[in-house]
Symmetry: C2
Subunit: 214 residues, 2 copies
DNA sequence: CAAAAACTAGAACGACTATTCCAAATGATC
DNA sequence: GATCATTTGGAATAGTCGTTCTAGTTTTTG
């Protein structure tokens, strides 16, 4: 919640605080905030900070210089946009409800997100049920890449599937290959491919959290 | 370098700054440092901060409150202590040369480290050559846990191996089971186990970075 | 329209902060 | 013993900081 019910200037203020903390390693002062957002009065800044605090986005330590803390500390994680499988395409991109912290390996947060793998369709590539796959958004890919392919059907929101991508030039079609010998590949003629399918991105990393009950 | 050539009080000061930043999210003021280290004079604190800066451990922004930055960026990653395999035990713990950033999922940095997996000995558990395994240090484990087991031979530094741990009570021995049907388990009588073997820790996560040439 | 909420500016206060200067111990080196 | 770097205390200064106050405008809401 919260971020949506903040006004435009409060959102800009919050963004500035986040960026300042990331680059400077400390929260900004009220005056630094005002200078950045062209706010002439420190009291004015204080007012909006109080609002942000009331909305639960930050917390403040009274009287302390730079006494701002972020309550939502998931700054570093990348959003988990949904679940994905190969056998039965699932809807994704309903908005991130979760996030997974994979550190600073993937800094391009604009173009990186994660999905939770469902099923055993990529098991022979050692991608298991429950694994997080880190996806880098891109519209093109190379033969053999593990990609998120979206099937856009008329009227229906696209359903996504995780598969290896192969371009079979001699047959002029695309093969989406699961990594499970019990499952069949999807063969798509190039003409239909261009019209109905779209590469959303490719897998750049896999993260598996082992259940550890002790 | 640098940290070694700092005096005891400067080391304590540096530690306090690191801990303060970790818990408070901002650097401490000179006065807060003095209060913590029982230094009566702010000028005194300033003197030691100047020394720390000269030795390259911190950098300072003149006149700014809390204007301290750590130059050695707080290794957010966890140290990669070496390589490990099941087939041919490898020496580890030669000191970390590398580190991998797995985010804030594992905050107990004192008791967590990573290893690079070599070989296909755990392939049926979907742990591949090149994967990072995140290890949580602990001396005991449960049946079925994937553990780092160290064989301590006389005179030789211990060699480590990654396997699943099983305690076979009826035979009074320990089985270290690779996840590769081509490889045989290691069976160790309980008496020898207690004397020559040691559990270093268990796998809590797996991180795989896919080669992405575009 | 009227009332309420949100937003903006300016000024001022007291506390906090980094820095500097002075003076004096302590410990090591030669 | 003399010299030097290191370590400590006290005081003072100029500026920064969070906060509060008054007073006005704009926007939203009923």
């Amino acid at each position: 919640m919260s971020l949506e019910q903040a006004s435009e200037i409060q959102r800009r203020m919050y963004d500035f605080i986040v960026n300042y903390m990331k680059s400077e390693g400390m929260p900004p002062t009220n005056r630094e905030i005002g200078r950045e957002l062209n706010i002439a009065s420190t009291g004015h800044v204080d007012y909006h900070l109080t609002m942000l605090e009331k909305k639960g986005l930050i917390s403040r330590q009274a009287k302390k210089s730079r006494g701002i803390k972020l309550t939502k500390q998931t700054q570093d994680g990348i959003p988990v946009m949904g679940k994905i499988a190969a056998g039965e395409p699932l809807d994704i991109f309903e908005g991130a409800t979760e996030s997974v912290d994979v550190g600073q390996n993937f800094t391009d947060t604009e173009n990186t997100y994660a999905l939770v793998v469902r099923g055993r369709s990529m098991i022979e590539d050692h991608i298991c049920d429950g694994d997080y796959v880190v996806i880098k958004k891109q519209a093109t890919c190379r033969d053999g890449d593990i990609v998120v392919a979206v099937h856009m059907q008329e009227g229906v929101s696209g359903s996504a599937t995780l598969k290896r991508f192969f371009q079979e030039k001699d047959h002029d079609r695309v093969r989406l290959q699961p990594a499970n010998s019990e499952l069949d590949p999807i063969m798509i003629p190039k003409t239909i491919w261009d019209r109905e399918w779209q590469i959303q991105g490719k897998v750049v990393a896999i993260f598996r959290q082992c259940i550890t009950a002790a």
